[in-house]
Symmetry: C2
Subunit: 197 residues, 2 copies
DNA sequence: AACTAACGCTACGATACCGTATCGTAGCAT
DNA sequence: ATGCTACGATACGGTATCGTAGCGTTAGTT
């Protein structure tokens, strides 16, 4: 009996359709929010028939989940050798995500939609957890280097750094300037205790 | 000619209808979000005829704005005589707003709706600005008392304090414990410079 | 070239809304 | 008691969605 490998129902038409659909869904989400991301709008924008959309996804929510998944960025975390540098890199990366499409426009809607849609809630939770991990790593490296106390709570550091950035984007709606980012990183650093030996 | 004072078209039926409508709208917003707050649902829930709703508001958005306005809390700002105390009071007040209905359930939806509805955007902006003001005041008092440097940026302090709290509620969805609040207030304080004389 | 799977198109049925119109009723004021 | 005003009930017309069905067409596959 031939091994039925799980891959390769790769009809190029299928991959093409899926790609066009997701691209259109993302564009609509970004430009006009969750409310405007309707199946018919996705069909019109992608040039793919509505029927075909339902051939690949069971319902609208599934399409939107795929669209959101397709643009969740992975956090970058360069090791600059100093806590200040690590945190700055990280904060600037987050600021980019918060201020440039497609992610920029998506996050507010995602936050609200997650409140009543468990599937999207899971996506959001994964996204934010992934966002905090590089901070944890940076803190761990700083502890190893003896920059900061071993008792430092990495989660607290992450919250202090991420919180103000998200706050600007979602609540106060003020611009995320490099000046503000630098100031926040410095503030977070002043928070931390030097190692006691 | 009798002075036609601008007040008192207070037919008790009117006030009663308005009250029932707003109560129902708030309940729907809180329990099931902006998407479920439809005019027909408000009518059904309030027992007030849909016609009557349109007799008092021009359209659905206006009703929802009134509903949101009706539950926007004003920020409290007691003067405890110490920055630590002021900030703690304030943070705990905000934590309550973020974790107890009706405001708790409303904020995520409001954040998203504000993205595409200028009217609600204005409401959100006013809400957040009002939230930061007590922090500004507390910082000003602390400067006067000589607790902290006169060069302290009150806006930066507000962001550092509010950001992590909102972050927990909206993004990481972890509980807002008094322990976490205390830790955050302490961190914000460590950020601040003593006055140079 | 023939077969097959994916696709496009059009048309539906079913809801769910919005906002308006009509008309009769009930409550308030005087 | 009488008039005015708000209200309730119902019914609309109009849109916008969702998700499905039928059927012919196209593009890969072999």
């Amino acid at each position: 009996m031939v091994e039925q490998v799980s891959t390769d129902p790769v009809d190029p038409r299928v991959t093409r359709s899926r790609r066009l659909i997701i691209e259109a869904a993302v564009a609509l989400l970004v430009e006009r929010g969750f409310g405007a991301a309707t199946v018919e709008a996705i069909s019109a924008r992608s040039g793919v028939a509505k029927t075909t959309i339902y051939r690949h996804w069971p319902d609208k929510e599934a399409v939107l989940r795929s669209a959101v998944e397709s643009i969740v960025p992975t956090a970058t975390a360069p090791d600059t050798g100093r806590l200040r540098g690590d945190l700055t890199h990280f904060a600037e990366d987050l600021a980019r995500i918060l201020t440039t499409p497609p992610t920029s426009a998506l996050i507010p809607g995602l936050v609200a939609a997650a409140e009543h849609d468990p599937g999207l809630g899971l996506l959001l939770a994964e996204f934010t957890a992934g966002r905090r991990r590089p901070v944890h790593d940076a803190v761990a490296r700083a502890v190893e280097r003896g920059e900061i106390s071993a008792g430092t709570d990495p989660e607290a550091v992450a919250e202090l750094l991420l919180g103000p950035l998200f706050y600007r984007r979602l609540l106060s709606r003020m611009p995320l300037t490099t000046e503000m980012i630098g100031r926040t990183v410095e503030a977070v650093e002043r928070t931390l205790a030097r190692p006691s030996r």
